[in-house]
């Protein structure tokens, strides 16, 4: 059911938010032992939120998300509750404050059910890097859900909540959305506040919704968007009404396609599905234009210098001294070496291998002697990519690409090859580096597994992006397929 349909049931008192919340809590109890999507479930708190929502509904409040149960990726802080980033380092960490998006969702009365699994500190594309457990793809339990927002994607796909929030730095909402057959939106950088999101790559991180439909995505985006005094990278431009023109016909809309992307690197079925979607858009009146993004093939190497560099800086705060994993340790008298020992051991033990790998890569790229060749070079390439997108948007309104070259891979298949994992992001890094909004919507299946299509629009033009992807969903049924778990 869509958010609007559930909202109508709640408002007409056909069901209560408490009944709805209990329904999802029971479903999680029943199905999650198989799926492993949730790190924490807050049963007591969820019921409290639901009861408050029912009171507010009876008092006449009408927001779309009032009384609606949702899940949060476990790198988003909720005051007084555990937030772990799926890391041993923060296994028992209790957040002292709410993320701004959580504050906004509490304000409209949405019901928080719990926190979902992710790759540790959002480093990964499969959720296999979680220090606790791997989440399963609900379409095939032997396959990954994608990452790093794998828990959120699985939960939405399997119907464990109405919507979920994830974070996307280089594809972490879009790729799991593609692997799990749901709609995943990465808003423009600065559209949604990052306050309370554990920082990974501060210059590309964004929080965004995973939902069953584009319309639901628009409703959630509306609530979580906005300028925030606690995050000075948020835009001073107010968010427009995302539902206003969401059904507008797309006749004459210019959609740019990069021919080089539709080559033999794509799985056969994925290529077929993407080409069929392109014909569909043409039938709906859009004009498909060939465009070129020659520097895009360098977006992955640029991203994998910039990201680890910022990660190495952002994770430097984790040393077990103010909070987090700390060993009981025997000090060597009053030696100054003690402090160094503490850092080495707490961090050596607290971080998983991908986190350590990225910290090391970043430390290397930023260190004296390598800074110019790596970090500065990557910044220049990033800029070139940004300019190319800007130029492309002078000629087209939307850019269309596959989300991932293939369907979900098997658990363990890519575990020993970090480089192969990084190449998952080949279509996804570019928009991240350029700060552009992008969405992945389901567009086909292959061997019983879903895959998605990516649409990208110019900065802060989420309304156009949502309009274009929504009308596609109105004419197709891919987004209505759900796995039987």
């Amino acid at each position: 059911m869509t958010i609007k349909e559930i909202h109508a049931l709640l408002q007409s008192k056909k069901i209560t938010s408490l009944e709805l919340t209990d329904f999802f809590l029971d479903r999680i109890k029943k199905l999650d032992p198989k799926l492993m999507s949730c790190i924490s479930v807050f049963e007591v708190e969820a019921r409290q939120f639901a009861k408050q929502a029912d009171i507010r509904i009876s008092q006449g409040e009408k927001s779309y998300l009032l009384g609606i149960p949702y899940l949060l990726k476990d790198n988003i802080l909720v005051k007084g509750l555990k937030t772990t980033a799926a890391s041993k380092m923060l296994e028992n960490y209790i957040a002292p404050y709410d993320a701004t998006v959580v504050g906004k969702l509490k304000e409209v009365g949405a019901v928080l059910l719990g926190k979902t699994n992710l790759d540790e500190f959002a480093h990964g594309a499969s959720t296999e890097n979680s220090a606790f457990f791997t989440t399963k793809n609900p379409w095939d339990l032997e396959r990954v859900p994608g990452g790093s927002s794998g828990g959120s994607a699985t939960a939405v796909s399997a119907g464990l909540c109405v919507f979920a929030l994830g974070s996307d730095t280089g594809g972490s909402i879009r790729q799991p959305a593609s692997f799990c057959g749901v709609s995943g939106l990465k808003p423009s950088y600065g559209r949604v506040s990052r306050y309370g999101l554990m920082a990974m790559t501060s210059s590309t991180d964004v929080i965004g919704p995973l939902t069953k439909s584009v319309e639901d995505s628009a409703i959630v985006l509306q609530t979580i968007s906005g300028q925030d005094k606690f995050d000075l990278t948020t835009s001073r431009q107010e968010a427009p009404d995302y539902l206003k023109n969401i059904d507008k016909k797309i006749k004459g809309l210019k959609i740019g396609v990069v021919k080089e992307f539709l080559n033999e690197s794509l799985a056969e079925d994925v290529k077929k599905g993407v080409l069929e979607a392109i014909s569909k858009f043409k039938k709906m009146g859009a004009e498909v234009v060939d465009i070129s993004l020659p520097t895009n093939e360098y977006s992955v190497p640029a991203y994998y210098i910039i990201t680890p560099s910022e990660v190495s800086s952002n994770l430097a705060r984790l040393d077990g001294i103010r909070y987090g994993h700390s060993l009981k340790f025997n000090p060597k008298g009053k030696s100054v070496e003690n402090l160094n020992e503490i850092y080495l051991r707490n961090r050596g033990e607290g971080f998983g291998s991908e986190a350590k790998r990225r910290i090391m890569l970043g430390t290397y790229a930023l260190s004296s002697g390598y800074f110019d060749a790596y970090y500065k070079k990557a910044l220049a390439v990033r800029n070139k990519i940004k300019q190319e997108f800007k130029q492309a948007f002078n000629n087209v309104d939307i850019i269309l690409t596959p989300t991932s070259p293939h369907i979900a891979f098997k658990i363990g298949e890519q575990a020993n090859d970090p480089l192969k994992m990084y190449l998952e992001d080949v279509f996804l890094c570019g928009p991240s580096l350029a700060g552009l909004p992008a969405i992945s919507i389901p567009v086909g299946t292959s061997k019983g597994l879903p895959f998605g299509l990516q649409l990208i629009s110019n900065k802060f033009k989420e309304d156009l992006l949502l309009n274009c992807s929504n009308v596609f969903q109105k004419e197709t049924n891919w987004h209505k397929n759900f796995p039987s778990v």
Partner: protein, 96 residues
């Protein structure tokens, strides 16, 4: 692009990460492979590109230099998680 074991040890020390011998070997291999791939960036002509590339919105936003009272609950949750405390202050090992 090959990194030596010594360089790996040096980076680990800079990043304050304790690694065992197995990890040092594994990371040497993996980092060399990733850096080899990243060397691809050399192919891009960037002499004409400005590295900062700031957008029109990117300028400093300042606020008044005033004191804001802290939320007591936030403060107490934060302090509760320090492994060693004395008088509401977090205790650390000798620095100098």
């Amino acid at each position: 692009m090959s990194i030596s074991k010594d360089e790996i040890k040096k980076i680990a020390q800079l990043a304050r990460l304790e690694l065992n011998d197995l990890e040092i070997e594994k990371y040497q291999e993996q980092l060399s492979s990733v850096l080899g791939y990243i060397d691809k960036l050399k192919e891009v002509k960037t002499s004409d590109v400005d590295i900062l590339g700031l957008d029109s919105e990117d300028y400093n936003q300042l606020r008044k230099d005033a004191v804001f009272p802290a939320d007591d609950e936030e403060r107490s949750i934060a302090l509760k998680q320090a492994p060693e405390k004395e008088d509401d202050q977090i205790k650390v090992e000798r620095v100098i």
